[in-house]
């Protein structure tokens, strides 16, 4: 994995998140902001839609590979998880 690849995935994820949540402000959200809770506030519906798009776009089944879904901690951790597998 290259840092550049992870950054490119992160940008694509920002676009996905903005679309799923209907919040254009997420297009500029930093890598280290938490996806759940007080961060972006992603809920289980948003998370499911995001994982579905990730699987469709990158062929990475995050839910099958990551029991705790820790890869969804931040946008940056999810991008790194995906970039490691493509």
């Amino acid at each position: 994995m290259s840092a550049g690849q992870s950054a490119a995935v992160a940008d694509q994820l920002r676009a996905l998140l903005a679309e799923i949540t209907g919040r254009p402000d997420l297009l500029s959200v930093p890598d280290e902001v938490a996806l759940f809770g007080a961060g972006i506030g992603l809920d289980s519906l948003g998370g499911t839609l995001l994982l579905r798009q990730v699987q469709r776009r990158y062929g990475v089944d995050v839910a099958a590979e990551d029991l705790n879904l820790d890869s969804l901690e931040t946008l940056g951790t999810l991008a790194a998880f995906i970039a490691d597998r493509i």
């Binding site: 809770g37 809920d43 289980s44 998370g47 499911t48 029991l67 705790n68 969804l72």
Partner: protein, 359 residues
């Protein structure tokens, strides 16, 4: 495993030469009559809590005509010139239903073959089959509750809610507030048990146990000291969804306390948490998890444990567990496909929004 066939939750109907005696667009001034036998089936299924939907190669006006003619509530409508398989896929996604919960009725052999090839788990029927369907076990849920009878109407409310959400500019959190969401969490009563059993059969995406819980078992938890059964109701300005979820917790009196490494530590365990997929994206599950954390703290527990089946279908449940701060020991997935997710109850707990009232 039981050999019982999966219970169908939604029947997707073709219009031309299926619900109608003829072809809508070829009928000139007078559109065709409805097939009276299938109209009776539509209403019989709706009365059993099974949804009806339309998938038709027709302009949307054909669906309006069928709705008026039959008086039925359709939970989803796909009219257009694309493939029936794509229409079935969109209906399944829109209603959050798995293919094995769907039946598809079409007079056209090619349409039936296309849907069967794309979705091997969908029950594909001819109109003649469908006329008999009310006698089949797949169309005979064991218990029909008040919620079940209102199901078609609630999906129509959901269509209107989704249209509002698509036009709304803010976050989902703001939307939940904007539409006046109200969640109540209260102890279950014996009269709620049929509905809770039904929920345990019908819920998959938001179900931790992954298997039905009988009314007897629910009654045992209701009676056992230290156990609690709580139920969740959900309503907003679009409609009242009634009882949508529940959780069973054990060890609230400290009786099942102690984990091996820390004998004095009280642990509350949640053998079942479940929520109707109608509640998905409406804050009710996150609210229930936040409430369970607080109830466990109130009974003196230091840790909350939720054993959860890890499957492809209940990823939304695992997401909610993760969002509420619950984690499983990496590599702890047991041979039965389950893992125990837990969290410490010291420190910051997940937020409980002010539109939640707890009884």
């Amino acid at each position: 495993m039981t050999s019982e066939p999966a219970v169908i939750k939604c029947v997707i109907w073709d219009i031309d030469n299926t619900l109608l005696h003829g072809v809508y667009l070829e009928s000139g001034e007078r559109p065709p009559e409805a097939d009276p036998q299938l109209v009776a089936v539509l209403h019989e299924l709706a009365g059993r809590g099974i949804l009806n939907a339309l998938a038709s190669r027709n302009p949307p006006a054909a669906a309006d005509y069928v709705q008026k003619l039959t008086g039925a509530d359709f939970a989803a409508i796909e009219c257009g010139w694309g493939s029936k398989a794509d229409a079935v896929g969109r209906i399944a996604a829109g209603l959050s239903l798995a293919p094995d919960a769907l039946a598809f009725v079409d007079d056209d052999m090619i349409e039936r073959a296309e849907v069967a090839a794309a979705f091997p788990d969908v029950l594909v029927l001819t109109p003649e089959d469908a006329a008999e369907a009310p006698d089949w076990p797949q169309f005979s849920p064991a218990v029909i509750t008040a919620e079940a009878r209102r199901r078609g109407q609630m999906y129509a409310e959901r269509r209107r809610r989704q249209a509002e959400a698509a036009a709304f500019g803010g976050s989902r959190d703001e939307f939940v507030r904007h539409v006046g969401t109200r969640v109540t969490i209260a102890p279950a009563e014996p009269a709620d048990l049929p509905r809770l059993h039904e929920l345990s059969v019908r819920t998959h995406q938001l179900n931790s146990a992954g298997e039905p819980v009988s009314q007897d078992e629910l009654a045992r938890h209701l009676a056992a000291p230290g156990d609690a059964v709580v139920q969740v109701t959900l309503a907003d300005d679009f409609g009242d969804d009634g009882l949508v979820g529940a959780a069973i917790s054990t060890g609230n009196d400290g009786s099942r306390g102690s984990v091996e490494s820390v004998p004095a530590m009280i642990v509350v365990t949640v053998p079942l948490i479940m929520m109707s997929c109608r509640a998905l994206g409406r804050g009710a599950l996150d609210a229930l998890l936040a409430w369970l954390c607080r109830a466990a703290v109130a009974s003196g527990a230091a840790e909350l444990q939720i054993p959860c089946l890890v499957s492809e279908r209940n990823v939304p449940m695992r997401l909610a567990l993760a969002a509420a701060g619950l984690r499983a020991e990496p590599g702890s997935l047991a041979a039965d496909g389950r893992a125990t997710f837990s969290r410490s109850l010291t420190g910051e707990l997940p937020a409980l929004p002010d539109w939640v009232s707890a009884g």
